[in-house]
């Protein structure tokens, strides 16, 4: 089991890192031929940085468009951040001070994740308009995240695992000095689903995380009148080349 998970973890990490890098490069190279910031838009670069920050930190556009989705989406993402910060204790030695500080709060974040995910899935199933546009991957993604959250909570509150041995296993992976993994079924399910998530990440809608930064309607400065927008390939055409 240890060997299997060790190999899977390395493979999943490689797929995640390479896949994500590939996608980011692809996004960066995709031409944005037109000036299309959604107005009212900032007229300076500094303003755009602020707008993106509000987008990333507060989910501003989502808030403006739908309060319910924002509420549950924000709940889920905030709790996810907290839970991930708490998990850093398995990968750092000695554990960073601020990780130790947020660690106890992360214990309850799982419930907020569960509630947020549950509500978002409820929406996909029972809101007719949303149900119509939901593909299998939309449902499966939520089920996967619910599974990870559920198994994580189960380890905190029901069937615990040997977290000292788990940290040794994780540090072993990072330091290439492999250690045995505790063979609790829930832990294996949890890690297995996390591996699946890592592998799926670069091929799925989860790419909205890096993708947000490449949205032309959000990352462009509204200065079309002051400065003519000319994509490099268009400039080449205009200069007479092909």
């Amino acid at each position: 089991m240890t060997a299997l998970f060790t190999i899977l973890f390395y493979a999943a990490t490689a797929i995640l890192a390479v896949g994500l890098a590939f996608k980011v490069v692809q996004y960066a190279r995709t031409p944005a031929p037109l000036k299309i910031p959604t107005t009212p838009a900032p007229v300076t670069t500094g303003g755009v940085v602020l707008r993106m920050a509000r987008e990333v930190i507060l989910f501003e556009s989502l808030f403006k468009s739908n309060k319910w989705i924002w509420l549950f989406g924000y709940m889920f993402h905030g709790a996810l951040l907290l839970a991930m910060m708490r998990h850093l204790r398995y990968f750092t030695h000695p554990v960073w001070e601020w990780v130790a500080l947020v660690q106890p709060f992360g214990m309850y974040a799982g419930f907020a994740m569960l509630a947020g995910l549950g509500a978002l899935w409820f929406r996909r199933i029972f809101v007719q308009r949303i149900r119509y546009i939901s593909g299998p991957s939309d449902h499966l993604m939520l089920i996967l995240l619910l599974g990870i959250t559920g198994s994580g909570l189960a380890m905190t509150y029901v069937a615990r695992t040997d977290i000292v041995a788990l940290k040794q296993f994780m540090l072993g992976l990072i330091r290439f000095d492999w250690q045995p993994m505790p063979s609790d079924p829930i832990l294996m399910a949890h890690l297995g689903m996390v591996i699946a998530l890592m592998i799926i990440f670069p091929f799925s809608k989860l790419l909205h995380a890096p993708g947000l930064f490449f949205s032309p309607t959000r990352n462009q400065v509204d200065n079309a009148r002051e400065k003519r927008h000319l994509a490099p390939w268009a400039a080449k055409l205009e200069a007479g080349g092909e």
């Binding site: 490689a14 030695h93 000292v164």
Partner: protein, 143 residues
């Protein structure tokens, strides 16, 4: 696909060399208890000692049932160490039985805000008669 295989190979190859060089993965130092065996299976204790201790607390405090199996006092009696001069070391001091794993995993211990961190000492009775203040400074809270 070929790229993937290549990357995997690149990740594993240096690791073989590194595994021999590194002094191993950092681990907590778990001191052995004085007794032959713990009150329950080690695998069980590693996972559930906190549940048993709070369960014990509830039974003792709320219901007045005082049993020995999961008594914190007994944990300390067995797992505490002594320093060079033979004095007991607090069990939550850095590197000691409680602290080493709890620091390793960043889990707070809130037993010792009330409970004593050193075992009860019979031999110390005379010493504490000489220095009553030290006896006061280390209240022995029984379970």
């Amino acid at each position: 696909m070929r790229i993937l295989v290549f990357i995997l190979a690149m990740m594993f190859l240096p690791s073989l060399a590194a595994a021999q060089e590194t002094g191993g993965v950092p681990s907590p130092s778990i001191t052995k208890g004085k007794g032959e065996q713990c009150v329950a299976d080690t695998d069980y204790m590693r996972r559930y000692h906190m549940k048993e201790l709070s369960h014990q607390r509830d039974e003792t405090m709320h219901e007045g049932v005082r049993t020995k199996q999961f008594s914190l006092k007994e944990c300390i009696a067995c797992h505490a160490t002594t320093d060079d001069s033979g004095q007991p070391v607090p069990i939550n001091a850095p590197g000691e039985f409680c602290a080493s794993c709890h620091e390793y995993t960043a889990v707070k211990v809130d037993c010792f805000q009330c409970h004593a961190t050193k075992p009860e000492q019979k031999k110390q009775a005379q010493a504490s008669a000489l220095f009553p203040m030290t006896a006061l400074a280390e209240p022995e809270v029984s379970q």
